[in-house]
């Protein structure tokens, strides 16, 4: 009898617990609290938090290669690059490229913000990260969860947990991160600029856009294919108007299902071993840096463009080039309406906001081409 008890104790995970595991439990509990009580991005944070918890319970072998339940999710979903493109499929079915088509110059604002990524890349290298790690950290500034996960899983999978959590955390914090930069880099006069109404966009134009974009980007930057093809297909579902069932499935059921696996898999990479290192603190710091610099880059790009434009754009919309959709656009609208009550920048800001999504994918693809 005593032997059976002894056996049970020794085979339990409890004896294999390390101090690190306990710390990760704490991390998990904090995140669960934030998700459930504070409702802070619960759709992602809850599965991530739970993933962290279960993977730090030893001897469960949930992440054991070829055997663990969660390992299978992770391997087929993330390592094999299925989940991020599927999220993009859903995203495309929800995105409205109208404001972008109405004002294609905003594509340059989407590009401008990505310049911030490369500055962060440089900074990360200075901090001592190797090139692949630096690229994965830099892409956080793209403010795009799936792209961050896609790139990091290919270039620096050991950093996946930290970069993904950073990306999602800072996206939620955009309303706090962006305004100071926006006020710093723009004059009161610039913020008051009212933008003229967006020209109407016809249905045919909305249908041609995803097709042209998919073809162009896949021809010029092939590594972008998995992400951009899905994004544009989803958008085509939406804009064609003839496949409402597919469009709805992509933006609802599919998104929800994939999000479950995504959160769980990402959380499950955060074992005490991989997560509890000073590198992670640097990543959180550099992630914030990335957001700040990308915001600045977008604002500066807008100001530069204004030098050449008769019909000035309000430079605030440059900040929306940081593709946290639609948080950054909302933030731009708020700051704009504080400067001038009659300014309704929301739709204008959506142009650079969605352009930024495309821009981040292109930036990731180029990084992959150079470093993959």
């Amino acid at each position: 009898m005593f032997d059976i008890l002894k056996d049970l104790i020794y085979s339990s995970g409890a004896v294999s617990l390390t101090g690190g595991n306990l710390v990760m439990w704490l991390v998990s509990f904090v995140l669960l609290y934030l998700a459930i009580k504070k409702q802070y991005e619960p759709l992602l944070l809850l599965p991530i938090a739970f993933g962290i918890l279960v993977v730090n319970l030893p001897l469960t072998f949930l992440m054991e290669p070829e055997h663990g339940l969660i390992w299978f999710f992770y391997h087929y979903g993330i390592e094999q690059d299925i989940i991020p493109p599927l999220i993009f499929l859903g995203l495309g079915a929800m995105i409205d490229f109208g404001p972008l088509i109405a004002n294609p110059k905003t594509l340059l604002l989407g590009a401008g913000a990505q310049a911030g990524l490369y500055v962060t890349f440089f900074a990360a290298v200075l901090f001592g990260f190797d090139l692949q790690e630096a690229a994965s950290i830099a892409i956080i500034g793209g403010a795009d969860g799936p792209t961050t996960i896609y790139l990091t899983s290919k270039l620096a999978p050991h950093l996946l947990g930290a970069t993904a959590v950073s990306a999602y955390a800072y996206m939620a914090l955009v309303p706090i991160i962006q305004p100071p930069m926006m006020k710093l880099l723009t004059t009161d006069h610039e913020r008051k600029i009212v933008m003229s109404k967006l020209r109407p966009v016809s249905k045919l134009q909305r249908i041609c856009f995803p097709i042209i974009t998919a073809m162009t980007i896949m021809l010029v930057v092939p590594p972008a294919a998995p992400l951009i093809s899905m994004l544009m297909l989803g958008n085509l579902f939406k804009e064609s108007g003839v496949v409402e069932r597919l469009s709805k499935a992509a933006s609802n059921e599919l998104m929800n299902i994939v999000t479950i696996f995504l959160g769980l898999s990402v959380g499950a990479t955060m074992t005490a071993g991989t997560f509890l290192s000073p590198k992670v603190l640097f990543i959180f710091f550099l992630g914030l840096f990335a957001f700040v610099v990308s915001t600045a880059a977008g604002l500066i790009m807008a100001k530069i463009m204004n030098l050449f434009l008769k019909d000035k754009i309000n430079p605030l919309i440059g900040a929306a080039g940081v593709s946290a959709v639609p948080m950054a656009a909302r933030c731009v609208h708020k700051v704009g309406s504080e400067a001038n009550r009659r300014n309704y920048l929301l739709m204008h800001a959506m142009g650079p906001n969605v352009a930024g999504v495309i821009g981040t994918v292109v930036a990731a693809a180029i990084l992959l081409k150079n470093l993959g």
Binding site: Y118, F122, L131, L204, G359, N370
Partner: protein
């Protein structure tokens, strides 16, 4: 671990230039196709009803 600085600069430079070039290309193609579609759609109604064209793209960085 030795940092290959030439590679760093290569990534940095080709990255920024690359993103701008691609996005600019996309902008041009979008403007072009949009204009073409405007014309095509208005052939039915008479050209006068075409919505205003965009202001021309600014001279961008090299």
């Amino acid at each position: 671990m030795e940092t290959d600085w030439s590679k760093v600069f290569e990534v940095f430079g080709s990255g920024i230039v690359g993103v701008f070039l691609v996005m600019f290309l996309l902008q041009v193609l979008t403007q072009f196709s949009t204009r073409v579609i405007d014309v095509v759609e208005n052939l039915g109604n008479g050209k006068g009803s075409a919505p205003g064209a965009d202001t021309p793209a600014p001279a961008t960085k090299d």
